[in-house]
Symmetry: C2
Subunit: 344 residues, 2 copies
């Protein structure tokens, strides 16, 4: 292993000059700096991170804790975070908590001492995990807690957009198939849908769930949706939408003919389906990037100065083949496609 001593000897300087030349180049005379960097490159010197963490307190790395790496949602966030961390010269350690609150806290506690901060995605045990940080910087993704910085999607706007779209097609009764009971984003989506329904005035909302956020959850929800009399449905995520479509077909009905379906997340399955899925897209990579930026900006600062600022990412409605006007019924109102009049 090449150490500062080897570089110092090769460059004919002291180890402190080596350290300085590499970490604060402007405080070393140009010729000296060049000799040092040349020697370092030649010898293939790589600073021992453990040593510099121990001594300097800074790790030059951050941690990312996600509930499930196999979930494309979190994989996308991880990709974005990784890319940005690299751009900033930071290391990124990814840990998968396997959806387990205890493991999450464990992961945070283990990661905290050797990183400059933690990005905590969709936490399953926020309070305990934040406590385990002992005051070290943290950014929450897809979750909000008072006084903590966070990066979240604008679920309210997304839901409004979905409902406007369905309303414009002529739907007046829309179901929501909810996700896991304790999901923060599920709560936000419900709140957003209710607000949107009130705002639009003539759209009735049927809330269902909780359901598992997988294909199986969609299977389970399908019959409830059909029985509810809704002509359109918004699902917690795209996988639920997939299951829903499958089961609706088994019942001999058609999507979007008998039921329009809007997913969430724009997972890549969304466009592979037949029909491709209308869905709400958030740029998850930019969520990862924003979280890393937030952390990097706080690095060095001690207090929670601008700590509680929330980055809110836009949500875009991607219209594909799974949404269409409802089949005409006896009650059909010829005004449906017209510009809405004042609340009637």
């Amino acid at each position: 292993m090449v150490t500062v001593h080897d570089v110092a000897r090769a460059a004919g300087v002291s180890i402190s000059t080596v350290s300085r030349a590499l970490t604060m180049p402007e405080r070393v005379a140009a010729p000296t700096r060049d000799r040092v960097t040349a020697a370092a490159r030649e010898l293939g010197y790589r600073p021992n991170r453990a040593a510099s963490v121990l001594r300097a307190g800074r790790a030059g790395a951050i941690g990312l804790v996600v509930p499930d790496l196999a979930n494309p949602y979190f994989a996308a966030i991880a990709k974005g975070a990784q890319a940005r961390a690299r751009e900033r010269g930071l290391g990124l350690f990814v840990v998968d908590s396997d959806e387990d609150p205890d493991l999450e806290t464990e992961a945070v506690a283990g990661l905290a001492p050797q990183t400059d901060g933690i990005v905590l995605c969709s936490p399953r045990a926020v309070e305990r995990s934040v406590e385990a940080l002992e005051g070290r910087p943290v950014v929450l993704v897809n979750h909000e807690v008072d006084g903590l910085p966070s990066v979240v999607a604008d679920h309210g706007a997304g839901m409004l957009r979905a409902l406007e779209h369905l309303r414009a097609l002529g739907h007046r009764r829309v179901a929501y198939v909810g996700g896991p009971e304790r999901s923060w984003s599920d709560g936000r989506r419900r709140t957003g849908l209710r607000a949107a329904a009130v705002r639009l005035g003539d759209v009735e909302l049927v809330e269902l769930g909780p359901h598992r956020p997988q294909v199986a959850g969609g299977h389970a929800a399908a019959d409830l949706v059909l029985a509810s009399g809704a002509t359109a449905v918004v699902t917690f995520n795209d996988l639920v939408a997939v299951g829903l479509v499958e089961r609706v077909r088994v019942r001999g009905l058609d999507v979007p003919g008998d039921l329009s379906v809007v997913g969430c997340d724009d997972a890549y399955v969304a466009e592979l389906l037949a029909p491709p899925l209308t869905t709400l897209r958030t740029d998850l990579r930019s969520a990862g990037r924003a979280a890393v930026d937030h952390l990097a900006a706080r690095a060095g600062r001690s207090g929670h100065d601008l700590g509680d600022a929330a980055v809110v990412l836009p949500v875009e409605l991607v219209v594909r083949g799974s949404t269409a006007p409802p089949r005409p019924t006896l009650h059909d109102d010829p005004d449906d496609d017209a510009v809405p009049t004042e609340d009637t």
Copy 2:
């Protein structure tokens, strides 16, 4: 931050006793050990990993380098590795090299000093990356290099199984849509297919590619496959199969009616498709687990004693709806479904 000193004071012992009680409990008297562990728990002591890495040389953690975390293939490996590492009380740091050979080497070099070994998945620059390890333990996944331990799928057996299946259905001309040019597994698959074709005697193989290992690659390959006169096709992975099916449909043809399709990997899209995809499955989580076990077994040992052993994982053919007998033609041989006779 709670240090060994704090615990030592609280337990009324010296710092070395604390260290010993925590890392080699059997070498400390039971009552002392209990006092120490109690004090440690009470104070919420967490050993500073940076310090112990620096001093002991052991990191209690391993690194996993993958080309793309957003690829479910690698995500599954990561999950398996993570779970096993946890069972063994090891940390696992996941780094995404973004399919870039330079970044891969960089990641390995950065990870190596602070881990006890590296799991290198589908390397894009094996030689340089292994060199960057400076002799530290490494396990290759989905790649083989002489003298290095590895975990690979039995592509040969998988390809034989696929071809046997297609042959049993009556196919006599089978295309292979290859993946990236420099992919190790693509090479293994081609070799396996050729061997299988020779062995079966009456199956003709049409090799195509290289193609991108994504849906777009399948789009690009579809017309070539149709023009080749093959009645069945094996693709590099499931995404390519998806693209292939899409394009075949655009051409007004049917899967499996006009073309049978076998994917590889059993990514979760495979069963969502219509028709669900016949595919070759490897248990990737167990690949991750095996890699970690391999590394853990070598930990402590210096030499490359049993180092070059390769763990070969079984490949299973999962038959779903995308494979069926070919449409009868004028040349159809009534013996097609019979037990194969000697090479004719």
